[in-house]
């Protein structure tokens, strides 16, 4: 079609940080589609965007070459103002026409809701697309959001993620002319730094992907990903050895290379004496290598590096990577040996010099607090019949937990905190209970992560997180929006997950107030008051709601109903939520929930409780059979339901309560609550109030949202 042309846009850049590239590629597409459609240039074809370290690009197979003319109608003065009574245009009509650049004769009358008005038709000529795009593309460049941009010419010149060195902008094969500082748009792009032709002139968008591929640049991230994945398999899988799965590392290398190739290197098997965790961290985080695993999960003495080249004929590159890894491993071994020269516990005094938080003191103090709280939690659990963690083991693991923070290994690999402490504890002969507890103390890292593998680790993790939470809240460090420097949301979520998954009978309020009193004893000048404890509780429950919804799939109103009836024991609350969910589908439940909501409203409207609440229901004030019936039935159900509840047969209890529905319905059909006679009225209100109180201890039915379960 003559009126359209293909579009190609490439921003040539010095190496864009790998972690930012995929978002930028998406943004470029969104921004361009927005501008093309807002400028009325869309011919219906989609914008496709691409990117590799040295370029962000987009193509569109068809864009209008010129905006269509735009016809607008402008309303002027009312007809009776614009024309006199013989139909001649007035001064008002003339000046309106003049303003629109028309003759009075070109005006016409339109019908509006407010009456008849004069109108004018204005035709704006569509502008040519290259002119519009020459304005839009600089704006597009400016609009791509980056976490941190820079300038490279002067402070007033353009800002971008890295210096822009060339721009390709073509429409229908012709250059869209514009400039960004010293860079003038054109048709010239640049290939791979060292392979193929360095300068490439492009004719149109259709040849973009292929022509760059021929010059060793794969502009489509999916293509690079497929190539890497298949080479990882072919280079890494041999004789029972496989590359270690690592999705996030794969994401990085996809955006680090324009023409990726996988190389296999080897290392001295002697390094395999170092723990696997450390070897993997060195390879993955520092060198971006994939580790090789045997069937039994142990490492093989080799690695896979992704390089930005097509071959390594002489093996020079492989030898280089092997040498670097050897040096890194030698460093790690040096740290391992020198750290282990003293006992883990000997690092404790050094923790007094490391600040946890200014007002909350050093890590030395934190360790003391965590020990004390962890012991208390262990004792509580022991008393409740949970015996797999010894108080001594818990205490020892809390004592050693933070020692690794001052080791050389953690200073070098901060992401290994906890893990390193656990490995050192194990190497120094601490019992497994203790070493795994230290190892796992920072778990879970998120909603889908594991909790610590043993109960000792769970108790340590609970105490550590609870201390951070209560401590930070006490000094006013409460997370807001995106600011959560101490990762308190993660801590709170961790507490919830550990309690629920490990089914720990632990009172939240008890643990919070214990943490709070330990803190006040440890840090003079900190007053952790009841208000702080309420804030911490609410914060934890908010995370609990989130976890129960997202992780366990409960509906929000089922969660609210159960938590409203008592949130302190999360395991018990979870059983009650399960019961609510189980009986929700039965026929009586939701109608009963509606009735409970009605009861709540009636009671709220009845005025202050003191004015109507009787000490107990008086049978002699009953006048209607329906109220007598309800009273009698409720008494029987209450007794049975209470027995069920005590035995934690929540579903049975709720079923019994739901069975009251016909009586409740009959009550509302046959009884006027707000009776004239005040004794009768107060008695009825008291009956309803007792009903609500008795039957809301498992779940508050009035929280159930009827007709909308998600």
């Amino acid at each position: 079609m003559k009126g359209t042309g293909d579009f190609l846009f490439e921003i040539g850049c010095e190496e864009i940080p790998a972690g930012m590239l995929s978002a930028a590629i998406r943004e470029l597409q969104v921004i361009l589609e927005k501008f093309i459609s807002a400028s009325n240039l869309s011919a219906g074809a989609a914008v496709i965007s691409y990117g590799s370290p040295r370029r962000l690009a987009a193509t569109c197979s068809s864009v209008l070459l010129r905006q269509s003319d735009e016809v607008r109608e402008i309303t002027g003065p009312p007809k009776n103002v614009a024309y006199d009574n013989v139909g001649r245009p007035t001064r008002a009509a003339e000046s309106f026409a003049e303003k629109q650049g028309l003759n009075v004769g070109q005006l016409y009358i339109v019908q509006t809701p407010r009456g008849e008005y004069v109108a004018a038709k204005i035709v704006s000529k569509g502008r040519p697309a290259d002119k519009i795009l020459a304005e839009v593309l600089p704006k597009t460049i400016a609009e791509i959001p980056w976490p941190r941009s820079m300038y490279w010419v002067g402070i007033r010149s353009v800002h971008f993620i890295r210096p822009i060195r060339w721009i390709v902008a073509l429409l229908g094969g012709r250059v869209i002319p514009f400039r960004i500082d010293e860079v003038v748009s054109g048709r010239r792009t640049y290939g791979h730094r060292f392979l193929g032709k360095s300068r490439i002139d492009l004719r149109n968008s259709a040849e973009y992907v292929d022509k760059l591929r021929r010059n060793f640049v794969l502009v489509r991230p999916e293509e690079r990903r497929r190539r890497i994945e298949s080479e990882l398999q072919s280079a890494g899988s041999k004789g029972g050895i496989k590359p270690r799965q690592d999705a996030s590392l794969l994401d990085q290398v996809v955006y680090l290379n324009e023409f990726p190739k996988v190389l296999r290197g080897e290392f001295d098997p002697a390094f395999l004496q170092l723990p696997k965790e450390i070897l993997i961290t060195v390879m993955r985080d520092h060198q971006k290598y994939f580790a090789l695993e045997r069937r039994d999960g142990t490492l093989a003495p080799g690695f896979l590096a992704v390089i930005n080249l097509n071959k390594d004929a002489a093996g020079i590159i492989r030898a280089g990577h092997e040498r670097v890894l050897r040096a890194r491993f030698a460093d790690a071994r040096f740290f391992w040996d020198s750290d282990l020269k003293c006992r883990l516990a000997d690092y404790l005094p050094k923790l007094n010099g490391v600040t946890f938080q200014e007002k909350l003191g050093s890590y030395g103090l934190k360790v003391e607090r965590v020990r004390s709280l962890a012991r208390w939690i262990a004792e509580q659990l022991f008393a409740e019949g949970v015996h797999e963690a010894s108080v001594g083991g818990v205490d020892r693991s809390a004592e050693l937990a933070k020692c690794d923070l001052v080791t050389d290994m953690v200073r070098e690999f901060p992401e290994l905190q906890g893990v390193v402490g656990g490995l050192y504890a194990k190497a120094q002969g601490e019992p497994e209970e203790v070493s795994w507890a230290v190892y796992d103390q920072y778990l879970p890292a998120g909603l889908d992560d594991h909790i610590p593998r043993n109960l000792t680790g769970c108790v340590l993790a609970l105490a550590d997180k609870m201390d951070s939470l209560v401590g930070c809240f006490s000094v006013g460090l409460i997370p807001t929006g995106s600011s959560d420097p101490f990762a308190l949301r993660r801590s709170a979520l961790g507490i919830v997950k550990i309690i629920i998954e490990k089914r720990l009978p632990l009172s939240l309020s008890g643990a919070i107030s214990r943490a709070s009193s330990i803190l006040q004893a440890s840090q003079k000048g900190i007053t952790s008051d009841a208000r702080t404890e309420i804030l911490v509780t609410d914060f934890l429950l908010e995370r609990a709601r989130y976890a129960l919804r997202e992780r366990w799939g409960f509906a929000y109103d089922e969660i609210n109903a159960a938590l409203a009836a008592g949130p302190d024991d999360l395991v018990d609350a979870m059983q009650r939520i399960e019961a609510v969910r189980a009986i929700r589908k039965t026929k009586d439940f939701e109608p009963l929930a509606v009735s409970f909501k009605r009861i709540r409203k009636i009671l709220e409207k009845a005025g202050p409780v003191a004015e109507w609440r009787l000490p107990s229901v008086h049978v002699e004030f009953f006048s209607e059979p329906a109220e007598k019936d309800l009273y009698a039935a409720a008494a029987t159900v209450a007794k049975r339901a209470e027995e069920d509840k005590r035995a934690r047969r929540y579903k049975e209890a709720l079923e019994r309560i739901a069975g009251l529905r016909p009586k409740v319905d009959a009550f509302f059909d046959g009884v006027m609550v707000m009776a004239e006679n005040s004794d009768v009225r107060k008695n009825r209100l008291t009956l309803l109030s007792e009903l609500l109180g008795q039957f809301s201890t498992i779940a508050d039915f009035s929280e159930i949202v009827v007709g909308d379960h998600s």
Partner: protein
């Protein structure tokens, strides 16, 4: 675990030829060849030829080797890769040329590196010096997985926004030499045709590791920090009171030397392990404050109070 200094069949450039080649390369590209600064510094950036020259509008190009002291990085000469003192080749190009990446890559060719046979990449690495109030964005340049250069577009120095932008190239000479010579241990690097790195530097590493970690007297070091800080403040306070004519000769550069002394003494205290995290932040802020005041006064002196003729 003293590292063995093994005789090897050497390939690649001796350490000092590496330096000579880079100096020749950058000299040919209009750089002033400077000498290392004679005050202890932790990085080539702290040399006044970088810290002061990147301020203000005048174009400048300079290259020099800077031995850089990092007390906490010492390992008594026992670790094959860690040094208390390493050598940086520092290049400042102001303003940053548009083809700077290519020129940099060409400089690698001058070391005998055949670019198309290597895996060379620019990986994001933003640089910041909290004590200098300086930061920039850029990359670490990796040669077959080895970090050989820090490549930075300066954005701020001494708390001042830079305009124009300078590009800073910092080559890690010791590890480049080890790479080129194919040795795993830095002490085995051949410095000249006959002498290796260990013969020249091992004693220094051993002694300074002992000093930095064990012997430096914390009280004396602290006292020295305070004395140098006091001298710097004294000098900086005096600048504003000078007449325009006297400002020109006023020793802002001497105040900067005092600031560098403080920075080094702070590093020493840190390696002695005698400062807490909180105090650490406070001491860094004190050095930064000196650096920012130097930058401000330097700009005033050079461009407002008594401008030197350009090119003088």
């Amino acid at each position: 675990m003293r590292s063995k200094v093994q005789p090897e069949v050497f390939h690649g450039l001796p350490f000092q030829d590496l330096v000579l080649n880079l100096e020749r390369f950058w000299s040919d590209r209009d750089c002033v060849l400077q000498q290392p600064y004679d005050v202890e510094v932790g990085a080539g950036t702290m040399h006044p030829e970088t810290f002061l020259r990147v301020l203000g509008p005048d174009p400048y190009r300079v290259a020099y080797v800077q031995p850089s002291r990092r007390p906490a990085d010492g390992r008594y000469g026992e670790n094959p890769n860690r040094l208390f003192k390493h050598h940086q080749m520092q290049v400042i190009l102001k303003p940053a040329p548009a083809d700077v990446q290519n020129v940099y890559l060409e400089s690698l060719t001058s070391l005998g590196i055949d670019l198309p046979t290597h895996d060379i990449r620019f990986e994001e690495d933003n640089w910041e010096s909290p004590t200098l109030g300086a930061w920039g964005v850029g990359w670490q340049v990796l040669l077959d997985g080895l970090e050989i250069t820090q490549f930075t577009y300066f954005q701020q120095c001494g708390g001042v926004d830079l305009d124009p932008v300078s590009v800073e190239l910092t080559y890690g000479l010791d590890r480049i030499a080890a790479y080129l010579q194919g040795v795993d241990n830095v002490y085995a690097v051949r410095w000249t045709k006959r002498l290796n790195y260990g013969a020249i530097r091992l004693a220094e590493e051993e002694q300074f590791s002992t000093y930095n970690f064990e012997r430096a007297d914390p009280q004396i070091t602290r006292k020295l920090f305070e004395l140098h800080e006091r001298e710097a403040i004294h000098l900086l306070d005096g600048y504003a009171k000078q007449s325009a004519a006297a400002k020109r000769r006023y020793p802002i550069m001497a105040a900067y030397d005092q600031c560098l002394k403080c920075s080094h003494l702070f590093n020493l205290l840190d390696s002695r392990g005698v400062i807490s995290t909180t105090e650490r932040a406070q001491l860094m802020a004190r050095v930064r404050q000196l650096a920012c005041r130097v930058a401000e006064d330097y700009l005033d002196q050079r461009y407002s109070a008594a401008p030197h003729e350009v090119g003088r």
